[in-house]
């Protein structure tokens, strides 16, 4: 029997199917529609699952939605309706959303497949985050589960504990509009970046600045009691701006062009101050929940947990024994939490047992109908392709990868990535600026074998687990500066990924590369800005042509694109 978890309508839509016996499939709607961050009902994901797993009423145990649809809609509406005239634009939009939103989840599913109503269940937003976190750790009762995001069902921060009998207790909650996530997003908007998409740019930019606006920002977000001063924000009433004129009076003109040096400096200072407010807030939050729960190990989920710089800085404060951030802590990963809710609901005393990183479908399943030879030429067979690919990498070539299972979460972890030799400065710059067209202040991420990690990097043990999925930053050692300086961020950190599994192609590539004199590859996601990561071989072909990448590593060899 299958358990299906769905997260949709607000952020990137995703679906997770599992039978908890080894069959897992995590999909994002954006992979099919090619619209990055697609938040519509995941119709195409479900069609894929229906076809490939022969889904019908009889073999589905539960379809679980990640939150309470009406509650989620109502809590925001309830806050803004208090001032119907001031907030009319926002409210009218919210009324329109009602018609196309998650309230009609049951109807949307039944347009595709007839499932009886008693198989539909609804988790709670932060509980889904918590239950996803639960599937990442062993000895789950030793942890306190903290969720921190923009808003979900009117909650902005919450903490749960779970005992060995699976009794879940909510020990603390903070409510809308007091949200550190929305505060950070509003500043993201102020700086001219896209809300819910480009918060990571604020994080990167923050390393270039000084916290000059720290005191001012502390007056609008209280880091001790987690309260926001709504005079500075308009996310509850304005569809275009998240911030008010009062914030502009405090910080100056919004949306300046950061390619101008003075603007860059100023915005870096604002970003740095914002980052500091976030870190101090989270520090206080963690102290609070650790005290309340009596547990010193933390699982952190919610969109805020994607801020790996914050994780890095928190790890140095010695306030917890361990901090784990799952690979997909945002709403997309909540589909897994929703499936876990369904499983726990059925069994009462068991949760899903998952490999947490690669839960996506196999490439073979995705490309059943496609003849690879129509689009690609094999240039190196399965016994020599590792050696050939590494020789090309050493010679400065940039190579894409498309093998194994698809990753969960926003980061490509080797299976759908673009690699280049981190030692080769020219290749690194070429990949970052010319191919990926990233901003100059955004660093690239290194990937290396676990055994080489300590030679080049250092990290506090309390966040070490996150290294497998790029969930934390680490500090560059002297050795790294000597040979691989191009991958080090201005603040001396790197978002490093370590590879442990010896059976993977990524491991074999790194091992072979080591023999040829380089220990580190640059790893970036196989997509173009504004596009989702490649999903099937058609996407691979089109993206290779667009990015002008010649070679690609697949499960059975090294390939080159054909001219069609």
């Amino acid at each position: 029997m299958y358990y299906i978890g769905i997260s949709a309508y607000y952020h990137e839509s995703s679906v997770f199917l599992t039978d908890n016996k080894g069959t897992n499939c995590f999909l994002k709607e954006e992979s099919f529609t090619r619209i990055k961050g697609d938040k519509n009902f995941p119709k195409k994901c479900l069609k894929f699952l229906i076809k490939n797993f022969d889904l019908k009423n009889e073999n589905i145990q539960f379809i679980s939605f990640y939150e309470k649809p009406f509650k989620s809609w109502w809590e925001i509406f309830y806050y803004s309706i208090k001032n119907p005239f001031k907030n009319k634009d926002f409210l009218i939009n919210h009324l329109k959303i009602f018609n196309s939103g998650s309230i009609f989840f049951y109807t949307d599913v039944n347009k595709l497949i007839n499932i009886s109503r008693n198989k539909f269940i609804y988790s709670s937003h932060h509980l889904s985050h918590c239950l996803y976190g639960l599937s990442v750790v062993k000895n789950f009762s030793e942890y306190v589960y903290v969720t921190c995001d923009g808003v979900g069902e009117g909650e902005t921060m919450s903490a749960y504990t779970i005992d060995t009998e699976y009794k879940i207790q909510k020990i603390w909650t903070n409510f809308y509009p007091n949200s550190i996530g929305l505060f950070y997003s509003a500043i993201t908007d102020f700086l001219g970046f896209e809300v819910n998409e480009e918060e990571f740019k604020v994080m990167s930019l923050s390393s270039f600045g000084k916290p000059k606006y720290k005191d001012e920002l502390k007056t609008i977000f209280n880091i001790n009691d987690f309260k926001i001063n709504m005079k500075y924000f308009e996310f509850h009433k304005n569809l275009n701006n998240s911030f008010s004129k009062k914030l502009c009076d405090m910080l100056g003109e919004p949306y300046l062009n950061i390619n101008v040096e003075d603007n860059f400096k100023k915005y870096a200072d604002i970003a740095c101050s914002t980052q500091l407010i976030l870190e101090e807030t989270m520090q206080n939050l963690l102290k609070k929940v650790i005290k309340l729960s009596g547990k010193t190990k933390v699982v952190l989920t919610g969109g805020v947990a994607l801020n790996c710089k914050m994780i890095h800085n928190l790890s140095k404060l010695d306030i917890f024994e361990e901090l784990v951030v799952p690979p997909s802590p945002g709403d997309s990963g909540s589909a897994i939490g929703a499936a876990n809710f369904a499983y726990l609901n059925k069994t009462k005393n068991q949760t899903l047992n998952l490999n947490t990183i690669f839960l996506g479908p196999k490439k073979k399943m995705i490309n059943k109908k496609i003849n690879k030879d129509n689009l690609f030429i094999k240039i190196s067979s399965s016994d020599t392709f590792i050696s050939d690919a590494t020789s090309k990498l050493i010679n400065g070539e940039i190579i894409a990868s498309y093998f194994g299972l698809t990753e969960v979460g926003p980061r490509s972890l080797g299976n759908t990535s673009i690699f280049c030799d981190a030692k080769n400065n020219e290749s690194v710059n070429n990949l970052n600026i010319k191919i990926k067209k990233r901003e100059h202040y955004q660093p690239l991420a290194p990937i290396l074998l676990e055994e080489d990690f300590e030679k080049y990097f250092s990290i506090n043990k309390n966040i070490q687990k996150n290294l497998e999925w790029m969930g934390a930053l680490c500090d560059a050692n002297h050795e790294l500066y000597k040979e691989y300086s191009s991958i080090i961020h201005i603040d001396g950190t790197c978002r490093t990924q370590i590879i442990k599994n010896k059976d993977t192609i990524t491991y074999k590539i790194l091992r072979e590369l080591k023999k040829k004199g380089s220990n580190i590859l640059v790893n970036t996601s196989f997509n173009i800005s504004k596009d989702p990561v490649v999903f099937d071989l058609f996407d691979v072909y089109v993206n290779m042509k667009r990015l002008n990448i010649k070679f690609i590593l697949m499960d059975d060899g090294l390939y080159q694109t054909k001219n069609i």
Binding site: R34, I92, L95, I168, G192, K530, F538
Partner: protein, 238 residues
């Protein structure tokens, strides 16, 4: 390109130019997605390859329009925030349907006519945009000329395929129908703001009514058990 944006520009207004370029970029991006979807779902190797080439061209055009827009933004120090391209907005702007791709709803013969008719319209709109740039931005003019050549080729291929597979008379009927539909679709898309004038007062009235009864509608939190799993009603949406 499918839903073709307005491109009438009398005097050189850099901000308005950027807005139009952004819309063209959105239309090209949407078109690329439609073509890629068609390439994946057609059971004909040659046609599939044709759709792939078309998709790559449309992505290229998207990049060109975006680059021209970014240059003007830099040159004239325009606020770029409202001119940024957000993929999710393609749905709200009507460039992509929320629940299906056009290829899913049309037979290949009709799909070819649809592409041909819309590429023709795009060509006309692009010519007026290119002429506008000829005076003020000659470098952009040259780039748009290259796009025009591609669009011309796309229209030609599609219409030739449509003619061959439909027969002359049927082709003529279908292309006339498609042109009329495209015109009406355009008219509807450009009139959306006017429609909102009708619905706005209705929605405001609903808001006022809801405001009066809000207090009584507050969702009461009922806690019967300190175990979250026992306290939650799985089948409830509230």
């Amino acid at each position: 390109m499918f839903l073709i944006p307005k491109s009438s520009l009398k005097n050189f207004d850099p901000e308005r130019c950027c807005f139009v370029l952004n819309e063209f970029a959105a239309a090209e991006f949407s078109s690329a997605i439609e073509m890629l979807f068609a390439a994946k779902n057609i059971n004909n190797k040659k046609l599939s390859e044709g759709f792939i080439r078309h998709a790559i061209d449309e992505y290229k055009h998207f990049t060109i329009f975006t680059n021209i827009k970014n240059q003007i933004i830099l040159e004239y120090k325009i606020n770029k925030k409202k001119l940024s391209f957000v993929p999710n907005h393609l749905y709200n702007k009507g460039y992509i349907y929320k629940d299906h791709f056009i290829f899913e709803k049309k037979k290949i013969n009709n799909f070819a006519i649809f592409i041909g008719a819309n590429e023709e319209i795009a060509e006309k709109k692009l010519i007026s945009l290119a002429n506008h740039f000829k005076q003020h931005k000659p470098s952009a003019f040259i780039k748009i000329q290259n796009i025009l050549k591609d669009e011309e080729r796309h229209a030609e291929y599609s219409l030739r395929f449509a003619k061959n597979s439909n027969g002359f008379l049927l082709y003529k009927i279908k292309i006339t129908k498609e042109r009329t539909i495209s015109f009406l679709r355009h008219l509807y898309a450009n009139s959306l703001n006017k429609f909102s004038f009708i619905f706005y007062p209705i929605l405001i009235t609903i808001l006022i009514m809801v405001n009066f009864v809000t207090y009584f509608l507050k969702l009461k939190k009922v806690t019967t058990n300190d175990d979250v799993m026992k306290n939650i009603e799985p089948s409830s949406i509230a």
